[in-house]
Each structure stands twice: as structure tokens, then as C-alpha cells.
Symmetry: C2
Subunit: 543 residues, 2 copies
């Protein structure tokens, strides 16, 4: 009917840097410790990386792995590897040798970049993984024997041909990265993200956050998770200066914000809490901060109050997942401002995950796929140009997760009358106790409303009478506002829950801790690890 | 290699309204005179329009025409016709019966909506155009015999089935609208815009303008041009209130801004000038205005000064064309602010068309397709998800215009070192005088720098000696700051040009007028009309 042509240039991952280098060539791009590169320099370095991929023997479409803390080189891999037609596999450095070898074999990684801390690991992986031909060393230390040095590789490639232009010729549906899901459940799956997926997410972030050229970003979350690079492409597209920290350290974050006049940062609630405590110990001038984004969990009213008291800045929550590259919903600064002022419906919305950003659709669906009315709990289904291509070499899992363009997230939630989503639980984390469904997040939310509780995890444990019984692990501060938090009576917390929850939801057992709960790279509590000892030798339907 | 699936839900034109109705159902959506509809009401009305398309006998993929001033119904056609799988053909009501019949035949329009002012025209068109089966009347007047009344159609369709949901199932590459180019050259061509093209443009506008929910838009430019609807989808996506004016009238614009507390409006420079004059006659409170966008031509420094003196608001320039749906480049409020303060390079940039918005690439190319360095004049090539599918049933023209995903605009321009584009001319408007290339826009810019000149058109006229000679038409105010503008001496203007331009560029003849120059629907000066009398009986390579 239309007689259209086939070009359809939706863009590829070379576009953000191409624009920044053209418009803001002389301005600061990425800042990593003492290293500061402009957008012109960055473009030439990334061009060098593109040329080096030939030398490394990675064919177009081949996989390049990264196993490293955040750094300039790490960010360059995101900006360069897909732009030059290869696929980036950014690996969680918290995994074991066994787990990493499985992922490298699964995606047949041909070249792997590792930093100083992971030299031995690199040698061990090369021995085990037949696909792994080249090891590239990034970092300040000496380049190990038999490895290639990242900076030398770039310099050589840049020399001939010098300053390669960005290729800029990938189809938007071409595979750009394989991002393995956190491993909170079962065998890890490789999420296939296309150029278009990651560009779509960058656009959604540009719209939701209103990125501007004069923003100054601080990148803290690890780049092996898509949440850690979510703002990299958006900030590059508008040519912002971006400071990279190798890892989260509260005092280093405070110092970086003060020194670099940072305006925007992503800080999950736990990090935000630690930053506020660090500032109590050692004050710093954080007045440049305009926008703090968080994800992974809603913020507690107490933490929000402390944050707004300390910073004169906007707070925004994002919810998403690797499969959606990742942004799905957004609780806006306006929501936070009016919620903090106690204004309804904004006050209630602060317990939500926000509403879908323009460009993404999210619906609450029943098990039969029908959309549910407001207030009813169902599964979150997501649709948009940011939804993954599928799972790498897992057609079964892909088929189960994608239906008519919708991604079935496995998250249980309900929507209010204005389209704001309220997370209830991971479907697999739902506890069935005496025939009643208990959503662990609801119990966790009640617990963290207590001033002494920093974080909480609730799950089912085997129970002869109830099938599963509600069990809670609550983290309290070593020294809390109410005295020695380590000694908050368990009975007081149970009573606190009883005032807020139906009887069948109140924990039957509760364990207090003062150290933080184990978390995935994305900051999600690893409930599986907490749950495992209770289920040793038994079987649960979903682990 | 990737094993990806085929869903790829980039979205369709139902998405903006779907989100607004879900999140902002009870809030003001479109306001048209006395009519004010909320997003819930709008969604139901548009659902009714979708159902009515069946009754009108327009098959999926069939063409629905509109020939009307801006109105609620007109906006609903944009929101509903493509969302329900039909193709919208929005026609320029300034065209003659002959011209319109040609377009209706060319795109085989099956149903046509017309307003009160175009009843006779509708009957005449039905007689002439075999494809035209249904005529639909929109407006306050009586519905003519043999026509269908828009509101009755909607009410009937809404009754059964009531409140249709939006279909939401179009592929992003499906044809959404055919928009005929202004007819400034030759036989009009139907630009085929897909759902994805118009959504991409909405996203680009969201990013560039930073649209927010609490914006209040005034829609003035005619909706038959894509510039007139460019912000409709963006503003709907974030759920802004939008006021529709049937046509430009300076006093009506001032009154609407004051009454509705308008924050955002598109006003081409001529409109802005007329608005400022109207305010001199009859003051109004326009303090709500935060952002004025213009297009079609750079603003003169004098007009910018007057505007900034009057409004405490941001100015932003956009450049684009129907084929790119339309936004390509953007001169930001920051550019204007710093340019008005006389700061380089911003001061110079105010003469530019701005730089490509994130998501669109524009390059200056030589005739052989090679990208040219900064400062060299070539053709503007544009690439992005906003670039049209092609020209309707014109494979020859499509092939000439689209190359490897790039659209060749036919505009001659150069870029500065920061990627800002400076329009030099339409290639076809370039004057070849004595073997030298004279870009008419350069001469026009020099003329409008004279305080007495409101607008100017420069073109070549036949000359026995030079081949073509540079001829200028300059419009001066009936009463200008320098006295009776109608009597600014021609010699003074020629001298003014001589101080600014090389000798071969200075007009050899100059005509003064006090009435505005003829313009297309998009506000472009119809140079062809001005040029025609000079070339009567002669042939020019490009007309």
C-alpha cells in the first residue's frame, strides 16, 4: 500500500558521541581521576578502539567482554564496541570463576578486557574458555605477559588510520550488547539489547530527566548493569561532562560532587543513606547537586526527609529491568516535591514506582493476559522500543517472556487510577501461607516505616502447619536515633507490623542484623541467598 | 547471529493519547473556543471517530482527507485517523479547486471532512473526484444535504460499541499520513509519513523543548502543515492543556494567551511581529508565556530585541521540512539568551538554523555526496527515524531524494565548527550572475538588517549581459521608526547592501512594497509567485 523504502535510519549507538564530538569537541567529556578527556579526544580514542577490534581478531558481530570496575576505558567500551559493529558482554565482577566461565562460554567471548584487580582471573579464564583468544589490560599497573595493553592498542590503531570516523552504519535492530541477568534466580540468561533498545532508553531518559548540555553527571553504579550505563548515552548525546567513580564510597562520592560541581547522580537508597551518614561525619559542599535519581526500591519517607533536608535538589525514582534497557516508569521530581509536602495523591505516589515514561507502555495483566482495572494485583507487562530482542540462545525463555511485543516482567503490581504502578512483589517471591497470598514487599514496606529499620527482606520459610510461614530479616543501625538500634526489641517490630498489616501477613519469625543485606550488582537484595539456608534439603517451586 | 524476535514495538500514534487518558483523564486536553474536553472525553471522542471510519466505508489503509481550519475536530483527526489504521491527508485550504481535485485523485481520498467555510467546495470536489464517497461536515453551521455531521457520527459510533479502546496495533513503519509539499515548486508531491516518523518527531520535540505536563500550548499554525501539528503529539504525550485557534489573528492570539495563561506557542517571525504591533495598540497580560518557538526563517536582531523586551520568555528556533516530520535543527533558548547578550559564538549562532536535535543527523554534502568541512557550502542531508518513507506513488522522486537512509533536502547551507547550520539558500533559488553564485538568502539577510525592512525576497531576473541579475523585493512598514517607511529611498537600501556584500551580490534592481509578501501555508515566502512575472515567456532551469 505505502510503497515505502527500506532505509529506516533509527540510529545506532555511534550517534550520541558523533553529535557530542561535532558540537562540543573542545569541552570536557569523561573525567576519571586524573584523566580528563574532551569529546574530540574521546571520539578519537573510541575510533582507535574500533580499529583495534580488527587487530584483536574480533569479527563484526563477535563478542567483546569486559570485567572491570568503572573507568574511562570501561565507558569507552560501551561507546565504541557496539558502534563498531561488535557485541559488548559486560560481566559482573562479583561472580565466581565458575560463573564467569559459564557466561564467557555461553556468549563465546573472543576478547576480554580486565583491570588490575583481575589479572589472575583473566589468566584462569583464558585457560578454561576456548573462545577467549585475547586478553586486554586496562589500568595503571603493568601489562601482564601475553596480554595486550589497552592504551597501546588505542595508540597503535589511532596511528594508522588516524582518527577513524565512527562507522555509524548499524541497523537499529542489530545486537549491541548481551547483559546477563543478575543471577538472583536460576541459570543466568543473556538479555539481548539492540542499538535501538539502548538508544530508545537514552531518549526516554532525555525526556524524563530533561538532560541538558550543562549538566554534570556522576556515574556510580557499576557499568556491567544496564542501570549503570543508562545515563551514559543520554548524557553523551547532549554533551554533558561525566565523572566516573570506580566504585561506591560515600566519602569519595561527597568529595567528587564538591570538587566537580556535580549536578546529577544516581544513588540507590542504600547509597543515599550512606552518603548522608558520611556527610554527618565530614561535611562537604554539595550545593551543586540538582537531581538525584534512585531505583531498585522506593525511598523510605524518613530517608527522603533526610535527603531533602540536606540537599536542595530534585529526587526522581526510576523502575525498570535489564530486559527493558532499563527504564519503564518514573516518579517525577514534581511527585516528590508535592508528596513531601503531604499533598494527595502525591503523598501516596511516593510509595509507587511511578508511571510509564513517554515512549513506554506498562499494563497490569491477569494470568490470562487481560488488562486488570485499577487496584487489582497482576503482572507488569511492558511494551516499547526499549524491549529486548530476546534471551541469547534461549528461544524457550524468549518465547515465555515476549508475547506480541509485550515483555512479561514477572513483577506483581497494581496500578492506581492515574496509571501509577505499585510494586507488590516478584511473583516468585509471593509467599503462600495457609492459602493466603502474602506479598513480601508489603511486609518489607511496613518494616522500613519503623524509624530504626534501614532495610528488610521478607520471604517464606517451610512450616509444617502453614506450608510457608512469613519470615523477616531486618537491618537496624548499629547506633540508631532510638539508642542502640542493635537492641530494638523484636517484639516492638512485630507489634509495629501488627498495627499496619492483616494478621496473616505479620512475620511469624524475625531476625535482626546490623550489617547490610547481600545485594546484586543492581542493588537488589539477594533474597535467594537469605532464603537458601531455611530451605536446605527441601524443594520450593520457584527459587 | 542474534536470533531476535520480530515484535519491535516502537509504538504508534495511539500512544500519546493512550498515556494522557490513563494518567490525566480528568484534566483539560483540547480547548477550542467554548468547547473544552478532558483527556478522558477526548479519548472517547477519538474512539468514536475510529468506529465511525467503518461507517464511512474507509477500509484500513484507506485515505481520509481534511480540508478545514484548525479546530477540535481537526486535531481529533490527527489523533484518531492514523491510530485506527487509516491514512490522513490534511489538505491546504488555500489551494484552488483544481489543485485540490488533483491531490484527492492522487491519493484516492475516500472520505473528506470540511468545515462551514468550504461547503460549496466539498460538493464541487465530490462531483469531480470519483474516489470521494463521503463528505463529513464539521463546524457550528447546519449540515448540508447528503453530508454526514461529524458530531452525530461520533455520538452514533460511541453508542455502539461505547468507548472503544484505542486500537494500538499499528506497525511503526505503517503509513500514517500523506502530507503534500507546499507547491512552491512544480507538481505537489505526497510526503509519506509513518507512525514512527511522527512519533520520532514528537520525541525529538519532547527532548529539545523539555515539554512538561503543566505546559499550556497554543496551536496557531495551520494543521494541514506538519509544522502545525508538530507539537500536538508531544504535548498530548505529557498531557498538557492545548488551546486551538482557527487561524492567526494577532488580537485573538493576545487574548487567548492572557485568558488561558498560555506558556508555549509557535509564532513564525511575521506572526511575532504582528503580535508585538497588536500589543502596542491594545496591551494584554502575556506574562504566562514561557517559550515562543519559531521556524521558517531566522529572526531579525531587531525583532528578537523587541520580543525579549516585551516577553520574559525563552525563544527557540526550529528548522525542518515536511519530509523530516519536520524537526531537524534547533537554536536553543540558551543560544538566544547568550546571543542577545552579545556573547560569541552565540551572537553569530542567532543567524543560524541551530544544530541537529538529539536523534537527528544533518550533514553538509558536496554534489558527489562527500561530507564538506566547516564553512563550505553544500546541500543539507538529513538522517533519522523521522525521515519520510518516500513520496506517494513517485518512485522516481523518492529515489532522487532518499539515499542510504539520508534525505537530500535541496537546501544549501554551511556548518560552523560546532555543527550549527547556516542556511544559504534553496539550491534552486541560487542566482547565477556573471558566472558567480549568489545565494539569495545572504542578500535577504543583509536587507532585513536595515531597521526599516520587515521582510525581503531576492531572486534572479533575466539579464542580457549577466544571464541573471540580482533583483530584490523589500517590504517596509507603512509607518517605520524612520518616518514614512514607504519612502525609504531605494538608494539608501542599495548603499546599505553595498556596505555588507561583495559587489556582485548587491541587487541591480530593488522594488519597495508596504504589503506583506505572498506566503505558503508553512509561512515560506512564495518566491515563485514573485519571480514569475519577470520570467513570463522565458524558461528557467528550475522554477
Amino acid at each position: 500500500m505505502s510503497g515505502g523504502v527500506k532505509h529506516r535510519a533509527g540510529g545506532d549507538l555511534s550517534w550520541p558521541l558523533e553529535r557530542a564530538a561535532r558540537m562540543y569537541g573542545g569541552e570536557e567529556a569523561l573525567l576519571d581521576g586524573e584523566r580528563r578527556v574532551t569529546y574530540s579526544q574521546l571520539s578519537r580514542r573510541v575510533g582507535g578502539l574500533g580499529a583495534a577490534l580488527e587487530e584483536l581478531g574480533v569479527a563484526p558481530g563477535g563478542r567483546v567482554g569486559v570485567l572491570a570496575a568503572n573507568s574511562l576505558a570501561h565507558a569507552e567500551c560501551w561507546l565504541g564496541v557496539p558502534a563498531y559493529g561488535r557485541v559488548l558482554v559486560d560481566l559482573n565482577f562479583r561472580l565466581t570463576l565458575e560463573e564467569l566461565a559459564f557466561l564467557i562460554d555461553d556468549s563465546t567471548v573472543a576478547a576480554l578486557l580486565l583491570d588490575d584487580e583481575r589479572i589472575e582471573l583473566g589468566d584462569a579464564l583464558r585457560e578454561r574458555c576456548p573462545s577467549l583468544r585475547a586478553l586486554v589490560h586496562v589500568g595503571a599497573g603493568a601489562c601482564p605477559e601475553g596480554w595486550l595493553a589497552y592504551e597501546e592498542l588505542l595508540a597503535r590503531a589511532r596511528a594508522s588510520p588516524p582518527g577513524l570516523p565512527l562507522r555509524g552504519g548499524c541497523d537499529e535492530h542489530e545486537l549491541a550488547a548481551i547483559s546477563y541477568t543478575g543471577g538472583t534466580t536460576g541459570r543466568p540468561k543473556g538479555v539481548m539489547l539492540s542499538h535501538g533498545n539502548l538508544l530508545a532508553n537514552a531518549r526516554h531518559n532525555l525526556v524524563a530527566t530533561g538532560h541538558r548540555h550543562d549538566d554534570r553527571w556522576l556515574h556510580i553504579p557499576p557499568m556491567f548493569h544496564v542501570a549503570g550505563t543508562s545515563n551514559l548515552f543520554a548524557a553523551t548525546w547532549v554533551g554533558s561532562a561525566q565523572v566516573i567513580l570506580p566504585r561506591f564510597d560515600a566519602h569519595a562520592v561527597a568529595a567528587a560532587i564538591e570538587r566537580e560541581r556535580i549536578t546529577h547522580a544516581v544513588l540507590v537508597p542504600t547509597m543515599l543513606d550512606m552518603l548522608l551518614r558520611a556527610l554527618d561525619e565530614r561535611p562537604a559542599d554539595l550545593s551543586s547537586l540538582r537531581n538525584v535519581q534512585y531505583a531498585a526500591s522506593p525511598i523510605s519517607p524518613e530517608l527522603q526527609r533526610r535527603a531533602l533536608e540536606r540537599f536542595d535538589c530534585e529526587l526522581a525514582q526510576f523502575y525498570g529491568m535489564t530486559e527493558t534497557a532499563p527504564t519503564v516508569t518514573h516518579c517525577t521530581p514534581e511527585d516528590h516535591r508535592r508528596g513531601a509536602a503531604g499533598e494527595e495523591p502525591y503523598k501516596t505516589r511516593l510509595r509507587s514506582m511511578g508511571a510509564p515514561v513517554p515512549g513506554v507502555q506498562a499494563q497490569i495483566r491477569a494470568a490470562d493476559g487481560a488488562e486488570l482495572p485499577a487496584g487489582e494485583i497482576g503482572e507488569v507487562w511492558v511494551r516499547g522500543p526499549n524491549v529486548m530482542l530476546g534471551y541469547w540462545q534461549r528461544p524457550d525463555a524468549t518465547e515465555a517472556a515476549l508475547l506480541d511485543g509485550w515483555y512479561r516482567s514477572g513483577d506483581a503490581a497494581y496500578a492506581d487510577g492515574d496509571g501509577y504502578l505499585y510494586m507488590v512483589d516478584r511473583l516468585k517471591d509471593m509467599i503462600i501461607s495457609g492459602g493466603e497470598n502474602v506479598y513480601s514487599v508489603e511486609v518489607e514496606s511496613a518494616l522500613v516505616e519503623h524509624a530504626a529499620v534501614l532495610e528488610a527482606a521478607v520471604f517464606g520459610v517451610p512450616d509444617a502447619h502453614w506450608g510457608e510461614a512469613v519470615h523477616a530479616v531486618a537491618v537496624v543501625a548499629a547506633s540508631s536515633p532510638e539508642g542502640d538500634g542493635g537492641h530494638v526489641p523484636v517484639a516492638e517490630l512485630i507489634e509495629h507490623c501488627r498495627e499496619r498489616l492483616a494478621g496473616f501477613k505479620v512475620p511469624r519469625s524475625l531476625e535482626l542484623r546490623t550489617e547490610a543485606l547481600p545485594k546484586s550488582g543492581a542493588g537488589k537484595i539477594l533474597k535467594r541467598e537469605l532464603r537458601a539456608p531455611h530451605w536446605a534439603g527441601r524443594e520450593r517451586l520457584v527459587n
